[in-house]
């Protein structure tokens, strides 16, 4: 399957929910420590991957999300705290939403209420946004350190989760004034979280303690699974849209792993095609088993689960 190289360091990759051959990659210069960013749009073609459109940003692009309502709408979270909405069809910046006072690190489009999305920032807050509005609807302030990740519940349009460096994962309902659940999920900073797409009570978290934990929010005193296998901090976890128990993860140990969290031997596959920290992983909603990953090795790979990403 194809590989695509770019001059910056890869931070995030997302499959389009509308076009099965399209994906977006957020990249940053100098590992995202200083410099510019570039939001790439890539198309899979028989001859390999091509980039029909790219958007340059004045600061690192840390994360991106496709709109769930418009196939040409793409959002980027960038290092200066701004959220940028791009029109892929006209290759233009539609809106620049600049409210976060620190790095915007994560963005997630609401899959059920398709006109809204969330951003998470190193200013310790999350913000709820809606299409067509120039200001955020709400700011969620509770975390006491950087918020690294935000994820909408796949079934409940008001419910989302956040993962923070304050060692807690929180579950929120936008109708409520405060978070509705605080899970001290790990002993170290929590870098990522994602909901199960089949069971809306199940959520996974990944942290600098190298572990992935799977939780049932109805009884979250203890995780229902602890997935050990990564050797450095877990940067991103993602539940499969096609297989209830499958989780994909990527880590500072440079590998991408696939898990079946309910199985005794949970680690299903370990992909070691990246040569630097692996920061982005995604699974296609439209093509079952299609995986994509990106890394600081300046490449994005797309491959079918069970095959070697490097095999062309």
């Amino acid at each position: 399957m194809p590989v695509f190289k770019f001059p910056f360091h890869g931070y995030s990759v997302k499959f389009s929910p509308f076009i099965e051959t399209r994906l977006a990659v957020a990249t940053a210069q100098n590992f995202g420590i200083i410099g510019n960013g570039r939001q790439l749009v890539l198309d899979l073609t028989p001859g390999g991957m091509v980039s029909p459109v790219g958007f340059d940003t004045s600061d690192s692009a840390y994360d991106c999300a496709w709109s769930e309502s418009n196939e040409n709408l793409l959002a980027s979270a960038t290092g200066d705290g701004s959220i940028k909405l791009w029109d892929v069809a006209s290759s233009s910046l539609l809106v620049n939403l600049h409210e976060h006072t620190r790095e915007a690190h994560s963005i997630d489009w609401n899959p059920t209420r398709k006109d809204s999305f969330l951003s998470a920032s190193w200013d310790d807050t999350l913000k709820l946004w809606a299409e067509g509005r120039m200001q955020s609807i709400r700011t969620f302030r509770e975390h006491s350190y950087c918020v690294y990740s935000a994820a909408w519940n796949p079934r409940h349009p008001d419910v989302f989760a956040s993962a923070s460096g304050d060692c807690t994962m929180r579950v929120w309902d936008v109708r409520e004034p405060n978070s509705t659940m605080i899970i001290p999920a790990h002993e170290g900073e929590i870098l990522t979280c994602d909901w199960n797409k089949y069971n809306d009570c199940v959520i996974a978290s990944g942290a600098v303690d190298n572990s992935i934990k799977v939780w049932d929010v109805r009884s979250y005193r203890a995780p229902i699974a602890v997935l050990m296998g990564h050797r450095y901090a877990v940067r991103r976890v993602k539940f499969s849209p096609h297989s209830e128990g499958m989780i994909a993860s990527c880590s500072y140990d440079m590998t991408v792993c696939a898990w079946e969290y309910r199985a005794e031997d949970a680690l299903v596959a370990r992909y070691d095609h990246h040569t630097e920290f692996a920061l982005g992983v995604d699974m296609s909603v439209l093509v079952e088993g299609l995986l994509a990953s990106t890394s600081w090795d300046q490449a994005v790979y797309v491959w079918q689960h069970g095959t070697d990403p490097r095999a062309s």
Binding site: G32, N96, R102, W122, S144, Y232, D297
Partner: protein, 729 residues
């Protein structure tokens, strides 16, 4: 202004400007990149840069990122697209740097200077080294770099991001190590790692502390709702709050001991490591670092990590095959250069098996158990999937989506309806919060009395309570003191002691509530103000804590004059700390002032200073067990678990029935991965107070981590006899 702009045609362009292939190529020794503005001729560009970077220098610098070294962005882009590129390192931002490495490995003798070229290139390469220094857990070597011309904004950006990111990719290292790494980077770039830097997150305990207290507060707040099963259930099972809950008494106990100097010595060693700078590292230290680096490298089994050219470079350097001479890297004895390859292979081969074995050994063995358990639970729960979400939504707001769609269907799209939607939301929030009066922090401030109290009707419950407290029967003391304040609600002393007893009994919410009542009864009681300051610090409620600590100084007969008259609208931490530092200068022998300073520095997460303050106070009050506990908790917070254990031991020597300190010891051991050891301490704490729900939870975790599954049943059935027999201290 930026956020309101709609479809400004130039917005996209503005973002792109930084990326344009630069017309001016900056030479290796550009005399002054600051005054140079090659893009100023582009219409409107200057203004936009102004918007982005108030400090124009920054934009200058960033704009040149591509100009130096690369032919421009497009070239770099095309290079990256070339097929048949070697898999790694060829398409770096800094080809010159890595070609240097390649030359060295290929045995090219010509000495190559490393840190030359356009500043942007050097910075890229330097950051590259920093990032990769994690791969073998090696200290990153500071270097003397040419003047970069970084603006303040750039510097802050590098400082903050490298601090935060280093904690992700160096997650397996200690804080001291991480700080040294970051400092080495920052000092090489001449960036001051001052107090404004985004520090590490405070670790587990304060978070848990806040979390438990919040959830406790939430449980009270929401108690009337019958459907709040999960809250109640959760509350019932809540494990321990953090160990550092040190809203304790401040008895006057004086004396001097010799431990403190020893402590300070250790302390200064630790902090000097943290303050390591590029400037004061001698060559010897650099060699030592390189040696350590190579050792760690040898221990890292992953072949991929060992293949990193940077690590090979470092390994070579540590064996003297490469030397740094006048900032140039030179092969010292070229003929030896093949040796490292064999050595690498050897290490590599030796380690493959052990790595696999180790990995197999690390796989969790408990998965079967929980899967079965989970499956059972699933069956029992049946069709309750939606329940938890409904339970969340106790306020029963009309669904915000329905409302939005209603408005959508009315035909209008644009700012109108969505504004309305947001307004509705604000209104709802106001309405729903209005009547219940949003609590300012997590502390509700309402004291909850026990429903049944045998001491009600006791002739002198205060005296009884004091007696029970002295004997360490905290729960009983709380009941007696509750009886006292029920009888005499204006007794400040009764409320104060009740607050202290509650704090020592692991209940800071109740402690704060009692202390607030004590303050109402006697607004100038110094001990009460101090205790409130400490409790709010535990709760991470900075504003409230500062208010009480300032109040303490204000009402103090000796220091009252230090506080300027009038109530400031906003209390700034630095101001309050300033007052107390002034007070400490006035009266260096006043332990209380040092204690408050320690508390203040905990609030600002300056743990080194906090530890120093507590140590000063301990010199004056060496027999204050709660002070030892504070010191221990602070050291635990700054990830010095070994020191914390010493401090807790001191507290226990002074007060052997200090249950919390026993549990804290266990936590500190567990924190260091010494789970076996932690078990005995938890068991000891539990044998003294079997009601310590938290300690049971911690014990269960440690049993699991120490693979003592055979004793889990004893833990679950609360079989203390069996546990004590199995885990004697």
């Amino acid at each position: 202004m930026e956020r309101c702009c709609e479809l400004h045609p130039w917005l996209g362009d503005r973002d792109r400007l930084n990326e344009l292939p630069d017309v001016a190529v900056v030479g290796p020794h550009a005399p002054d990149i600051r005054g140079h503005d090659p893009l100023s001729s582009l219409p409107g560009e200057y203004d936009h840069e102004q918007i982005q970077y108030p400090d124009n220098q920054g934009s200058e610098f960033l704009r040149k990122f591509h100009s130096g070294g690369h032919e421009g962005f497009e070239v770099a882009w095309n290079e990256a697209q070339q097929p048949h590129m070697p898999p790694n390192f060829q398409q770096r931002d800094n080809p010159s740097l890595f070609s240097t490495f390649d030359q060295i490995y290929d045995g090219v003798n010509a000495p190559v200077s490393r840190w030359e070229g356009p500043p942007q290139n050097i910075l890229s390469g330097f950051l590259h080294q920093f990032v990769h220094s994690n791969q073998a857990g090696i200290p990153f070597c500071p270097a003397t770099l040419p003047v970069m011309g970084l603006s303040q904004r750039d510097k802050h950006c590098i400082r903050d991001r490298s601090s935060i990111m280093a904690r992700h990719f160096f997650a397996d290292k200690s804080d001291d190590y991480i700080n040294a790494q970051v400092n080495a980077l920052l000092h090489s770039l001449e960036i001051d790692n001052d107090l404004q830097a985004r520090g590490p997150p405070h670790r587990r305990f304060p978070e848990l502390k806040q979390y438990w207290n919040e959830s406790q507060g939430a449980a009270k707040f929401e108690a009337p709702h019958a459907e709040d099963r999960w809250v109640a259930e959760y509350d019932q099972f809540r494990p321990a709050e953090g160990p550092e809950s040190w809203a304790n008494s401040f008895e006057q106990q004086y004396g001097v001991d010799s431990w403190a100097s020893q402590f300070e010595q250790e302390q200064s060693q630790v902090s000097s490591l943290g303050r390591m700078t590029g400037r004061n590292i001698s060559n010897i230290a650099a060699m030592e670092q390189t040696r350590m680096l190579a050792e760690t490298l040898a221990q890292n089994e992953d072949p991929k990590f060992q293949n990193s050219k940077f690590l090979q470079f470092v390994s070579k350097m540590s064996r003297g095959e490469l030397i740094v001479d006048n900032n140039q890297v030179k092969p010292a004895v070229p003929s030896q250069s093949s040796g490292w390859v064999e050595e690498f292979d050897q290490q590599h081969n030796n380690n493959i098996n052990s790595w696999a074995d180790q990995f197999a050994g690390e796989l969790p063995h408990t998965e079967n158990a929980w899967i079965r358990e989970f499956a059972n639970e699933q069956q029992q729960r049946g069709n309750t999937e939606d329940q938890w979400v409904n339970e969340f939504s106790k306020l029963h707001l009309q669904d915000w989506g329905d409302e939005f769609h209603d408005q959508m269907s009315k035909g209008a799209f644009g700012d109108g309806p969505t504004d309305h939607w947001a307004d509705e939301y604000d209104k709802f929030l106001e309405e729903s919060l209005g009547p219940v009066q949003k609590p300012s922090g997590s502390s509700s401030g309402i004291y909850v009395f026990a429903s049944q109290n045998p001491y009600v009707g006791h002739p002198n419950p205060l005296k009884e309570g004091q007696e029970l407290f002295r004997n360490g029967l905290l729960s009983e003391a709380v009941l007696a003191l509750e009886a006292e304040v029920l009888k005499n609600p204006d007794n400040a002393e009764g409320w104060r002691l009740l607050g202290i007893a509650n704090a020592e009994n692991d209940d800071d919410q109740q402690a704060i509530a009692s202390m607030i009542r004590a303050r109402d009864a006697d607004p100038t009681n110094l001990e009460v103000l101090l205790a409130l300051g400490v409790s709010h610090t535990n709760e991470l409620e900075q504003a409230a804590a500062l208010k009480y600590l300032r109040g303490w100084l204000q009402h103090h007969s000796k220091y009252g004059t230090l506080i300027p008259p009038g109530e400031p609208d906003v209390l700034v931490h630095a101001d309050v700390a300033g007052y107390f530092n002034e007070a400490a200068r006035m009266a260096p022998e006043d332990a209380d002032v040092h204690i408050v300073l320690g508390v203040l520095y905990n609030l600002s997460r300056e743990f080194d200073k906090a530890i120093a303050s507590f140590q000063k106070a301990l010199k004056l009050k060496p027999h204050d067990y709660s002070l030892w506990n504070k010191l221990g908790a602070t050291q635990a917070n700054s990830v010095q678990s070994a020191d914390a254990i010493y401090a807790y031991q001191q507290a226990l020597d002074l007060k052997p029935n200090y249950v919390r300190a026993w549990a804290n010891m266990g936590i500190s051991f567990a924190n260091q991965g010494l789970y076996d050891k932690s078990i005995s301490y938890y068991v000891r704490a539990l044998s003294m107070n079997p009601k310590a729900e938290n300690a049971w939870q911690y014990l269960r975790i440690s049993l699991g981590c120490a693979s003592r599954y055979d004793m889990l049943n004893a833990c679950d059935t609360r079989n203390l006899d069996a546990l004590q027999k199995e885990f004697p201290l």
